[in-house]
Symmetry: C2
Subunit: 365 residues, 2 copies
């Protein structure tokens, strides 16, 4: 772990969502970040959250009984916002207007128009924006990118397939915010499909597809929220991608990226099986033996270790960029909001294709 810096980025958290526990630990682990405040509609809930999740923090963490108080605290540089998606527009914009750098939970908005309002507020406020997609910050992801960029070992990208499913219980199907049209109206598409789409864009080096066509067979609940869906994406140069996400199937996290010369494959791209080391496999110029009774060479297994868990790598990178703005007067890094916007554009296109009886939807930038 890198040494702690002199003036760490001071975080506030809006809300006590389950996922905030993980990010609280990540802020603790990141050498350049410190948690300073947690706001909840109930100050007791904020206090309990701090007692349960931030007991090891050396500095005092303030509990606030509202989100506003966190945003009004001059001692806070940045906020992490894990509120239900329908509340993002209001609170992300409020944070940016108060000059707070913004680490926003995914899905970032209910639609791209809402996200654009958030991003405009960040730009106007001069604050750094980043969505809280953790896996892209794992050093494994950088290693995989290096191999995908190798014209000899991987070649030209041809197809991508991504899956994220998990099987929820009856309680989730009745009560979780992710199945409520007034809270997380994008359902499984926003919660799981977000990662699949991000992984496809990542593999395509953030080129947007030309056309998105949802797969027939979307499952919705009685309120019309998506519980399972999938789509195919077609890119300008002919490469293709597909994904499938579902709240109704066993936990599966697959990413397969195939090029002319290579095949990248992993089964835990969003949450690595283990925290300290993560694997992927790469087959290169794979072929059969002469009689086609076996393979000449097997895909090779690559292991990437990490001292910091991926969510702490994310906090570390976000805090580094925030530090550049706060301490050196740099402009915010545009890479992260650009990637977020592309992800949201594809989410919207999948939704539109489902709503239009599975017609293809053109992505217009």
């Amino acid at each position: 772990m890198a040494a702690a810096i002199d003036k760490p980025i001071r975080f506030g958290i809006l809300g006590c969502a389950d996922i905030a526990r993980k990010v609280t630990r990540a802020i603790h682990l990141a050498p350049n970040a410190v948690l300073c405040a947690v706001g909840s509609r109930s100050i007791d809930k904020a206090r309990r959250f701090i007692a349960d999740n931030a007991p090891h923090t050396s500095t005092e963490v303030k509990a606030y009984g509202s989100y506003e108080e966190v945003l009004d605290d001059a001692g806070i540089d940045a906020v992490y916002v894990p509120l239900p998606t329908s509340l993002h527009l209001r609170w992300a914009v409020a944070a940016a207007e108060k000059g707070k750098h913004l680490l926003l939970e995914k899905p970032t908005a209910l639609c791209e128009a809402d996200l654009d309002v958030i991003l405009a507020a960040c730009e106007a406020g001069g604050v750094q924006f980043m969505d809280s997609t953790m896996w892209v910050h794992h050093p494994r992801t950088a290693k995989m990118r290096e191999l995908l960029s190798d014209p000899d070992r991987f070649g030209q990208l041809k197809s991508i397939h991504s899956v994220f499913t998990f099987c929820v219980d009856t309680g989730f199907l009745q009560n979780d915010i992710r199945v409520k049209p007034d809270l997380d109206a994008l359902g499984a598409l926003g919660d799981e499909g977000w990662y699949c789409i991000r992984s496809i864009l990542w593999a395509a080096d953030y080129e947007l597809p030309k056309t998105v066509t949802a797969h027939r067979g979307t499952t919705k609940n009685e309120a019309g929220v998506i519980l399972a869906c999938g789509a195919s994406l077609l890119f300008e140069d002919g490469k293709v991608a597909s994904f499938h996400c579902s709240f109704l199937s066993n936990l599966t996290i697959d990413l397969t990226v195939v090029g002319t010369n290579g095949t990248l494959c992993l089964h835990d791209f969003i949450i690595p099986f283990e925290e300290g080391s993560a694997k992927f496999s790469l087959g290169t110029k794979s072929w059969f033996n002469d009689l086609v009774t076996g393979w000449l060479s097997l895909p090779s297994e690559h292991i990437v270790t990490t001292d910091l868990p991926q969510e702490a790598c994310m906090v570390n990178e976000f805090s580094r960029l925030v530090g550049c703005v706060r301490d050196s007067g740099s402009a915010p890094e545009k890479k992260w909001p650009t990637i977020t916007r592309k992800t949201q554009l594809v989410i919207d296109a999948v939704k539109a294709s489902i709503d239009r009886d599975y017609e293809p939807v053109e992505i217009v930038v």
Copy 2:
């Protein structure tokens, strides 16, 4: 290996295709089969094939300078037909009419109507039909079926994804029969998609999908033969499947089958990495740890060993059924032609969807 039986099934082979080398070895390895004749349009080619590929056979293998002579040989019980698909209709029907049991290379026909003529001829001739899809005969496949049938470890089937790609060279793209409209007009769909579709049907216990919709982005050569394509399948109960096949991407053979409780995954379902043992993984009731920083239990790896390679298992099973007809007067086993017909129906639907600008195509039985 089981002991050789007294009266093995006597095979003839029509044509000297590359794949016939593998099946010749399989006939040699199977305890209940023996190769008796090879027919080619050139008797020299037939002689060379026998010298190169059947030198260890104890009985004499006859070389014939025509396919007819193999079919007219009263000492032949069954024929293996690896001819180009466009010739299947003629020679498969001729074989059945001569009372020869039929092991037919895939894709079995250019369309389901042609296949129905072949199957009717087999029924009229009282001969056993089987297509030459080898992987379904591997003992690993039976083991996987057992797990997919387990309501506790796998649960209800929800989604299937299958990939078969390999990257061919310029010579293949110019000269191989699989890119010629007059020889194997189904191209990659017939050659590779066949396996993907079979794997989907296998996982669904041979239930046919209700609707098939090809994915936009089909690649064709100048003659209009498919070089890469994919499709999504929707079943009556809402389960979904998708596949992708291509002649233009690195060798990749993936099958992922996801149920409510389990995830089956393997990367070599068509041709196992190694001949003697084959793996697959099964995740069951997979979930994250409390903080979602890792998985509570990893998918388990299963290894299935086999004395006979899968193609010899196929010859063995085909010969066993032929023996029942020849020696015990049993009726031919209908399971195999039924499975073949379902596979061909889905192939036709994918083709139709591509031809109709990616409209969904209903499967009508």
